[in-house]
Each structure stands twice: as C-alpha cells, then as structure tokens.
Symmetry: C2
Subunit: 165 residues, 2 copies
C-alpha cells in the first residue's frame, strides 16, 4: 500500500511521516487531536454554560430520551461519566426539575432516574443548541469531510475503548 519508497512522490510538501523537528511537531496527529479537542471542548462548554447546561447534562438527557428510565450505574456505563461524578450531575438535573431520582423498589441499592416533561422539552432545546455548536466547531469542513472525520474518530474511540474497558 501507498508506495513505501521515498523519493517517488513528486509532491512539494514532505510526506507527514518524513518530517523532522518542529514541522513534525506541528503535524503530529496526537498533538492535533489534543489541540482540536481543546478548542472544541471550550466552544461547546461555553455554549452550554451560556444556557445553564453542561456536556454531561446533555449526555444524560440524551440517554434517558432514547432508553427510558435507568439507574445511575447504567447511566454511568452508557455515558462514560464516572459514577462518582454522576451524583452531582443528577443533583443539578433534579434541581432544575429535568429528571427525578427515586429509589428502585425492585432493587433498593438503585435509584431510578426518570426524565420529566420539562426535561424532555429541555433536551429538545439543548439538542438544537448542540447542533449549532457542532456546526461552529466543524465550520471549516464540508458535510462529507465531517462525516469522514466522525468515522475516523469513531474507529479510534472504538478501538481504544475495547482495550481499557
């Protein structure tokens, strides 16, 4: 695949894996990944904060919207939020009247988290907001490129999620 022979390429710019020094630094995928994520996170966090929300709020509401009521442990698994951090997230959501936390009669270790009507409406609004923020982050890319990026990233995430559980 992709001629491993150097010198056969007539391109003006050096191949990425042949760069050295700071030029290599600037094109290092892991570095670009970090930088892009930093910018993206900032934009998303600021956007959500302006609407009195956080990333995790959206993640939890989205999961409840799709799968219905769930225990905190289950929400933790599906969203990737640590169960210790999830406590305060659920607190914030209940404070805003978006979800309800009730003990599970069938298993008294568990709490059942249920989305309220207000929570559903809220999620719809956040969903739109997130769409706008995604658009802002991905502004320089066309639709096909956005799909491609998402697919490549999903492959990476998938691969590494399997390895460390």
């Amino acid at each position: 695949m992709s001629s491993s022979e150097p010198g056969t390429s007539p391109s003006a710019a050096p191949r990425m894996d042949e760069r050295t020094g700071a030029a290599r630094l600037r094109s290092l995928p892991t570095r670009l990944l970090s930088l892009a994520a930093t910018h993206s996170d900032r934009l998303v966090n600021e956007g959500l904060a302006a609407a009195d929300a956080r990333k995790w709020h959206f993640a939890v509401l989205a999961t409840l919207e799709e799968s219905g009521p769930a225990s905190q442990a289950e929400l933790s698994r599906r969203t990737g939020i640590y169960r210790s951090d999830l406590v305060s997230v659920i607190n914030e959501l209940t404070d805003r009247g978006l979800v309800e936390r009730a003990p599970d009669p069938a298993d008294r270790r568990r709490n059942v988290i249920t989305m309220t009507e207000r929570g559903r409406a809220r999620f719809a609004r956040l969903d739109e907001l997130v769409t706008e923020l995604e658009d802002e982050v991905l502004a320089p890319l066309g639709p096909a490129e956005r799909d491609q990026l998402a697919r490549l990233l999903a492959r990476l995430v998938d691969h590494h999620a399997r390895r460390d559980g």
Copy 2:
C-alpha cells in the same frame, strides 16, 4: 466514495446528522473528538512518563532542534505552552542536562535556551518513542486514513487558532 448527495446512498445506517437520542450522542463529532483525545493523551503521556519525559519536553526540544536557540517567550509562542508553565518545563530540561538557560546579553530581559549535545541525542530517542506511540494510537487506521485524519484535524486547529489568537 463520498458522494456528497444525501439519499443516493443505500447504506443501512442512518445519516449521522439525522440521528436522535443516544445514537446521536455516540456519533457526535465533538464528543468523539474529546474521547479520542483523552485516550490518545493517556497513551502518549504514559509512554513518555515511562521514559522520564513529558509532552512539553518533546515540544520544546523539537522546536529548538528546528530553529536553534530561542527565548522562553518565543518557545511559548511556538509550542503553545503558556509562558508561566514553560518555566518549570525548562527547569526540568536543565535538570536533565538537555538544555541550558543563559541570560541574553543583547536583551537582558530574555533567557536564551540552547539545546545541549545530550539534548540532541535525547530528542532523537524521544522522536522514535513518539513515532511508536503515534502508531499505537492510530493502530486501527491505515496510512491513507492517518493522513486524512491529520489533515482534517489540522484544518480545524488552524481555523480555531486564528480566531482566539
């Protein structure tokens, strides 16, 4: 591939921007970006830590290797490290005998940071290590896909770097 026209594709999966609930959550580019960066950062940090190094060490050495001696302020600009954080990074590098910090006679506000012979050798080793780590992070992708990913990310970083300086 990449027919930018919707509806022409016979794919079974829904288009990414038409998903709802948790399925959308799982395919959100900003989320994938965060997750991928988290995994990548962890791998790289652990790998470098095992060699008594850190990301910033590599960044500084790479910059010095390419452009020669520089002031801390200049290194800060080129690597993106905050100038306040750079202080301890330079300390760590001098402690290991990889760079030298000397006052600049031409501008007595500045320090001139110069790479030592040992620093050059060290950089060569770190360079190889980073190559291995990159390979581990990008394991699930082929060479062409890696290039594509790097290019897409570079476009994002470029775009957002201009906006906030």
